[in-house]
Subunit: 230 residues, 2 copies
Amino acid sequence: MTIQIYELCGADQKHLFSPHCWKVRMAVAHKGLQWETIPVPFTEVAATEGGDSRRVPVIRDGDNVVEESFEIAKYLEANYADKPSLFGGAAGEALSLQIVNWSVVTLHPEVAKLCLMDIYKALAPADQEFFRTTREKMFGCTLEEFSAKHPKNADGLTKALTPLEMTLKTQSFIGGATPLFADYAVFGALQWLNTTSSTDYLSGDTAVLRWFNTLLDMYDGMGRKGKLAA
Amino acid sequence: MTIQIYELCGADQKHLFSPHCWKVRMAVAHKGLQWETIPVPFTEVAATEGGDSRRVPVIRDGDNVVEESFEIAKYLEANYADKPSLFGGAAGEALSLQIVNWSVVTLHPEVAKLCLMDIYKALAPADQEFFRTTREKMFGCTLEEFSAKHPKNADGLTKALTPLEMTLKTQSFIGGATPLFADYAVFGALQWLNTTSSTDYLSGDTAVLRWFNTLLDMYDGMGRKGKLAA
């Protein structure tokens, strides 16, 4: 059976950039399951799977519909227990939540500072309007003001990645010798930037960049696709 | 057999404040092992257990001497495998390292900003001299300049704790239903502040404070001792 993953898309339906959707796609691939992407633009997200206030990612797996990336990861772990684990046990699941929260709180704002306008420009007109209205309310200023406020260099992101750089100097993945969901959670944040910006903000001889490239190459180089066409 | 834990102390040998030493003491207590503290002032740390450049914590367990808190946790896990786990498996150990690194990189500087002068004042004269020389070299300014630069309020620390607050709204401990080494690692950072400062920087109705108080009460309220006498 093929799992359907509803994923946020830009004006180009092949431009898949949502960090949370990338987490789920990597998790489904990790489990070795068949899947297909159903691209959803911003203005159609709420109505996904007959909902009225949904947020992507949403997956349909047969009769089951599951929303929110960590919930989906837990669903996959429970329902495909014979496939490679995403958490490595109950303790690993609990510890993963802290790493997921660190990524969302610390890395996501740094990525948003760098590529908010790039996301906006890559959307279809109706989605641009939706994005502008919701984000300007969230930030309390215009998209242009938000973008102008933040210099377009990697300093903030690099600083936020310091704990990860330390970890990846000791072990290949956050999960140890092989990746776990915690890796995909952090990968999602950086893939959000990678699929949207034409600037390579990750550069230099860093453990983070080596790790990120390894993850991009996994699962038939799945992460190399979905990038905004230059 | 009693494990000896060499722990950093102030002018008062009962004032035990090192975050890394607290991690180890909590880990030893978690394993239900007998231990005793050997207090070591800054100027005697390097020579611990016949060394010349040691850093505490160091433990002696029979013929084994182990240094550095994460290495000690791994030693305890491997050598007392029948006792409650500190990691919950190999994945948990790997994931814990990222949380340890997050704590050191993100929380430790915020704690240092708040209580550097308190630590200094609590040391014996020879240790004060050592502390001043090493820290002023590290910070590139005098202790007094460093302290004056940073306002004595909880804003920076509270912000740094945001991912943890999110996690502890969902589950009782970083480790899930019960604490793991990752909990003790973060506890150590906050206990460094708690044992040294007379100001309660953790306050209000927060999940972090409830969690911290729970950990302070564990193991016969061990964390309630070691605080600088008011």
